[in-house]
Assembly symmetry: C2
Homo-oligomer: 424 residues x 2
């Protein structure tokens, strides 16, 4: 394959391909033949032979040895021209570039259909969250009614901090820029362009038609004030930048596609999606609601999505007949850790005769077996028995059981265990 | 295809296949050739020709006209024998039957690999939530560390009601049985067998090895008391029946697989999954955490998953080369509803000179344009201006804009709009 770009996502992708153990076995077969970058001198975090590198990206997309082109340079040009040239040369495309697809998807997909190649773009929306493939395949039985997403991590981070800290937009934006959560030029994120690119891609898949980018109603979060966020809370809402695509109930067949700051009821599944996380809620018939939640950006997460597209392509290219992604590829059994060796936290509730020194006795016995406690509290009384609740730190199940045996030993016949539950 | 079973899920599946408009175009090509049931006399909710029905299920799985067998009868026998016979006759299998896969997956997959057919089972875990295909494909780049699921709707429903109502297990179980959320014999659900079946399937996919069903540590929710749920809340937790499979950090390569009631920290993504909903959290490297949330059972949701497997099979069987599920199949553009015709709720904050009648003026103007209000409240003061917050019901954008224009008309120069946001 030919890799265009070895920045954040390109590096993450190469890291996965170079460390294939423990991942899908097909990954071992994926080799990087060429790497296109802007500067040959830049130090690279990933160990690839220098002779793979070139600044002549056109030579990659026309290289007969390359069957798949992974476009991770971003932006409109030269990404658009390179993708079109690669398609012309009958290469399959994997891209994380929502902007070029949202704005030039029409010519790209028309060219791909003519050339008989695939253009896969799982990484373009929702970072590591599988959403493109589910919309294309897993949810294909449904008539989709609506797709609602928190699909821009930067704005969700800013709104979350405005809400929790009561801080102003400008203040939080500056801090987010300092911390690397927002770009020096934040327009694409805070003015909603990025979310608009992404919802146009989701709408296109969900409703089976292309979207004119200019048709999308778009509003950013610059004008959202702390005052409104506070009133939202008083009224039972949180403010989120939502991207929504839905089939219009009145004008059959027509769609609404929009991006804007929105009051979301506190008990809505999207309301608790905070910080840089993304989530996409899909509503359809007969399915009802499903939600996909996860990291919307970042090196590893986005690369995970890029490689999932590569897996799809390689399973098609490698197999004459049987798709290795759908079959069962293992025959051995897993080794299971014996229960006595499990490590977890525990909650235990004791009912004890109310005599002095009970808590001391419990503490001592747990101590004997190396069971360290997070809390031990006498909470109340039940039927004249004192209720004592213990929460442990992570402990070995066997040690914990041994401590309980000692606690209930002959010197303490009036200590009963009312319940034991694990703690996540 | 041959359908074994036309109960809840079978009926839902047939309904999708008989109403293909607006769904993935491949669905039109799926024909039901045979239907196997227990009783020929039972009235059926779905309109299928009587001559398709038979009680001789063996004749279906050996029928040369049938290339895919959809097993939706449930239970171990005769499901197991029928699946094995179908595989022997080189039929692909789609099943929603977690029990037969968890307990006899070994012989079923071994037979399928020998026969060169697929056994697909998206519907067997998480109902309509896509989780099998994501684990097999979308997340394939990752080293999975842990899979944590709320994968039994009945127990989650019971625990949720115990928590919100402070009611006892027996009481809620009886009510759940009355309402159809729990079976007359609730053992499979409340004693954790169903969740154990499902986590063994997920563990097998996530960690690439088969699981001996007996190796799974399993505990149900019968002994969970309201007292513990209350203490959990005091300590910042909720109680959930979790199914967990994780790679052991200490004993490299060994797995922990268990089902049991567990204290879940209130801010954990799984803590807010309530009622009959299911959710599965997958943790992996380099991805981080992704969560899949949705309806874990029910006719339509489960059938959606069955048909997604059929889509995968038909795309393989139908295509010589190009996979129609991965390609782009549409060329036209979607029609977008003009913004003026959108219907949503709005939040508006006004800053007004503090004169009598302001709220009346606002109300009158909204009324003129048919904008009905959910609330209108004077909340506070800012810079000597009264702050009035309005939340509307669903209204047409154009009417709302017209009302605002009238509000700001010449008679009211001291009314400013501080912000407008949509409400979900
Ligand atoms: N970062 C994320 O978290 C994330 C998440 C989702 C999607 N994406 C998408 O992934 C794509 C890549 O993003 P990124 O963050 O990895 O970008 P990045 O870190 O800026 O890396 C861009 C790479 O492309 C190369 N490049 C840029 N312009 C070039 C040109 N004209 N000729 C040759 N090489 C050129 C750069 O070369 P040098 O190394 O020599 O400068 C660099 O290796 C974008 O479409 C982005 O929207 C990113
Ligand atoms: N229901 C859900 O929400 C759900 C969710 C996830 C997974 N599942 C799984 O889906 C499968 C089907 O569940 P379901 O709820 O649809 O079951 P169901 O409503 O009880 O339907 C079972 C169907 O199988 C037929 N059948 C049963 N035993 C038979 C036999 N020995 N010979 C011939 N036909 C037989 C029945 O025929 P008659 O109609 O003639 O009685 C009926 O049509 C199970 O594996 C279940 O675990 C169900």
């Amino acid at each position: 394959m030919g890799l265009l770009g070895l920045g954040t996502v390109g590096t993450g992708t190469a890291e996965i391909l170079l460390d294939s153990a423990g991942r899908n076995p097909l990954i071992k077969q994926m080799a990087i033949h060429r790497v296109g970058v802007k500067s040959l001198d830049k130090p690279r975090a990933v160990d690839l032979p220098r002779e793979l590198f070139t600044t002549d990206l056109e030579s990659i997309v026309t290289d007969p040895e390359v069957d798949v082109v992974v476009e991770l340079i971003g932006g409109i040009e030269p990404a658009r021209s390179l993708i079109l040239k690669a398609i012309e040369a009958k290469k399959h495309i994997v891209t994380a570039n929502k902007a070029v697809i949202a704005r030039h998807g029409d010519e790209i997909y028309t060219a791909a259909n003519e050339a008989g190649v695939y253009v896969l773009l799982e990484a373009s929306v929702g970072g590591g969250i599988p959403i493109i493939q589910p919309l294309k395949q897993s949810l294909g039985a449904n008539k989709i009614q609506r797709v609602t997403g928190i699909i821009n991590g930067t704005t969700n981070y800013i709104l979350t901090r405005m809400q929790t800290e009561g801080a102003d937009f400008d203040e939080v934006l500056a801090d987010a820029q300092r911390l690397g959560y927002a770009e020096a030029d934040p327009t694409a994120d805070v003015d909603g362009f990025d979310a608009a690119d992404k919802i146009s891609i989701l709408a296109s898949l969900a409703f089976g038609g292309r979207i004119h980018y200019e048709d999308i109603e778009r509003e950013g979060i610059r004008q959202v004030s702390v005052t409104d966020i506070t009133y939202a809370e008083d009224l039972g809402f949180v403010v989120k930048l939502l991207a929504i695509a839905q089939r219009d109930e009145h004008t059959h067949g027509s769609l609404q596609v929009r991006v804007g700051p929105t009051f979301v009821p506190r008990d809505h599944p999207l309301a608790s999606v905070n910080g840089v996380y993304n989530a996409i809620l899909v509503e359809g018939e007969p399915l009802g609601q499903v939600m996909f939640f996860g990291p919307g950006a970042g090196k590893g997460a986005t690369a995970s999505a890029v490689v999932s597209d590569l897996l799809n392509l390689f399973s098609l290219l490698a197999s004459d007949q049987k798709n290795p992604l759908l079959g069962c590829s293992h025959q051995h059994y897993c080794t299971i850790t014996p229960i006595s060796e499990l490590e977890t936290r525990f909650y235990v509730r004791f009912l004890c005769g109310d005599r002095p020194g009970v808590i001391g006795h419990l503490g001592t016995c747990f101590g004997h077996h190396g069971v360290s406690l997070e809390s031990i509290v006498q909470i109340g009384f039940q039927d004249h028995l004192a209720e004592v609740v213990v929460v442990t730190h992570d402990v070995q199940e066997q040690n914990f059981r041994d401590a309980l045996a000692e606690i209930q030993g002959e010197s303490a016949r009036d200590i009963n265990i009312a319940s034991i539950l694990r703690v996540l």
